[in-house]
Assembly symmetry: C2
Homo-oligomer: 362 residues x 2
């Protein structure tokens, strides 16, 4: 039996609406109920064209405005704690519980704007998608881009991920490689007959420790790079000199570099060792020099920083759409067991986006 759709009241205060969205448990892969609720809440709004794709919902105004912008947010959360950190509850000035920070507050704001702005000064595409918190191949936004690329066409995109109320522009790319030191196996009672690959890997680790990551300014924002080991493995048995030691290295590179350039950089650093790519995601330039982005930053008049982590803005970047993160909640609280969001940031972010999209909301 299909679970009952939960009615969402888009006229309710943003804190109440966020709380209601949190209470529809939607751990990645289990977004059907919340997608149903979002679709049901949006379908009656005659100023929106609503499309359902799996557990993603896309709602668009079609006013023939000169400019179109995307407001996007994911419906899923990381798993609950045990005992569950739901239902959401108010504690002082905070809303507490799974999803309050990452990112049901952003979704609530999207829904509120969709309801309150029948005639925004730009055409708006609201995108609610599934499976952001798990492996990239499941990502609902990427799926929508494949199935309905025309629905995502826009001049600018805002992802309502938690940024603590500031604008985070672009994002670093991320490259993961395995750097392998080779040796020759031998009995550990007679190591002089072999060559110890773990000892050899000391050189690899030494280069990592000595590496001084740069901070690179791209389109006016400072991107702090990072390079470090995220794993190491070697050895086959307690009495055998290892013939292989593999160091897994993660390079977070500024968006002035392509993935290929990042790989070249890492390959040069580890010259003499085999380097194998296991993961590569391009970064995204903030694109804040483009008119649509500039208008957004001016309307909000909040601080603008570079985004360090990789986010789905890179997906928009790949579609040639400049994109930023802007949403309520401290990003350090995302995925945290004590996840919470200051209620004032919910109202503040909603008000900021209203300033941008309409001088005079209903």
């Amino acid at each position: 039996m299909k679970p009952t759709t939960t009615g969402l009241d888009l006229a309710a205060d943003v804190v109440v609406l966020t709380s209601a969205l949190c209470d529809i448990e939607s751990v990645s892969g289990n977004e059907e109920r919340i997608a149903d609720a979002v679709e049901a809440a949006l379908r009656p709004l005659s100023h929106l064209q609503v499309t359902r794709d799996g557990n993603a919902v896309i709602a668009r105004t079609d006013l023939g405005r000169r400019e179109r912008v995307v407001l996007a947010g994911h419906l899923d959360t990381v798993p609950l704690t045990d005992p569950p950190n739901l239902p959401a509850r108010r504690a002082g000035d905070n809303l507490v519980g799974r999803g309050t920070c990452d990112m049901k507050g952003g979704v609530a704001i999207q829904l509120r704007l969709a309801a309150r702005l029948p005639e925004p000064d730009r055409d708006v595409t609201y995108v609610f998608y599934d499976c952001e918190e798990i492996a990239k191949e499941h990502n609902g936004l990427a799926r929508v881009a494949r199935n309905h690329p025309e629905l995502l066409e826009a001049d600018f995109a805002v992802l309502l991920e938690p940024t603590g109320g500031i604008v985070e522009g672009g994002c670093n790319g991320t490259l993961r490689v395995e750097v392998t030191a080779r040796g020759r196996a031998a009995h550990s009672a007679r190591p002089w007959n072999g060559h110890n690959a773990v000892h050899e890997a000391t050189t690899i680790l030494g280069r990592l420790v000595a590496y001084e990551p740069e901070t690179i300014t791209v389109d006016g924002l400072d991107y702090r790079e990072a390079l470090g080991a995220v794993g190491i493995r070697g050895g086959t048995a307690g009495n055998v000199i290892p013939d292989e030691c593999v160091v897994t290295v993660n390079y977070r590179f500024a968006p002035n570099k392509s993935g290929v350039q990042a790989l070249t950089h890492v390959s040069e650093l580890f010259e003499g060792y085999a380097v194998k790519v296991t993961d590569l995601a391009e970064g995204a330039r903030p694109g804040l020099d483009l008119p649509a982005a500039r208008a957004f930053v001016e309307a909000l008049s909040v601080p603008v920083h570079a985004k360090e982590g990789w986010t789905d803005v890179a997906l928009f970047s790949a579609l040639s759409i400049p994109a930023v993160n802007f949403g309520p909640g401290d990003p350090n609280m995302a995925h945290h067991d004590q996840e919470h969001c200051p209620v004032e940031q919910l109202a503040g972010a909603e008000a900021a986006l209203l300033r941008w999209l309409a001088a005079d909301p209903e």
Copy 2:
């Protein structure tokens, strides 16, 4: 149904007998048939008292001699290759196949001496045991020492492990420890919020690489020590700065040190890091200054070297019985897919032991 016992002809040439023993497949844990065959071959010899313990067989002369010596060998082999490296076959001057080197040749010599020497000039205890090639807790010699310690009492012991026809005295001890570098986890996009345990482990590896192992003379033999990593592990996920990196280190220490002294040495080397013992086996002094051992070396008049690997001589050492390895076959061929033994070493080792135990064999 119990497999048929294979008849062994102890009057046959040592090469023929070795071949027959090899052809009774006896990978560790599967020694019942070969133990049955050994027992059946020895029971008729009225000058021997025969005891069976699991798949070990102990046969003793009881002539009231002033001195008693042990000749010991294990009945098991490492697994066969695929296709199987059995039956054993003659190829030129070699006997080829699983067990020819490690150590059915030694077992054949034990059986031949047991049959040929009703009145050796020392009392002899012949020990044939199971499960030497697998984890220590299964070792048949250790089990006999627990179940029948009186049967192992002796002044000197010879293990007929392959030594290429020289005497290998005593053995290094072996200590395995886990040395742990600790850090603090963080998202790999923001490593400055954490402390990378894999990078920290560079110090541990650096000390290993810089370490200069000693060669230590004990009772006139040179023991070459060794210290090295046999494994390393660290990291939990591709985007997390590791909070722990564990280096597994194996220290082969000369038998002038106790296990406790070896651990103290390693703990000092890795000062500042947690050191946890995962395996410790004491070494064995060669004891070549003792009269029984000296007589053995003099009778054989073959070269005497220190044993680098750990062997069951350490078990005799723990029983306060000086022990050496002496047997046919190149030790580097043990466990080798192309395991083989020069037939001349089979006859040579038998003749050498005869020189020691009887001036005038039957």
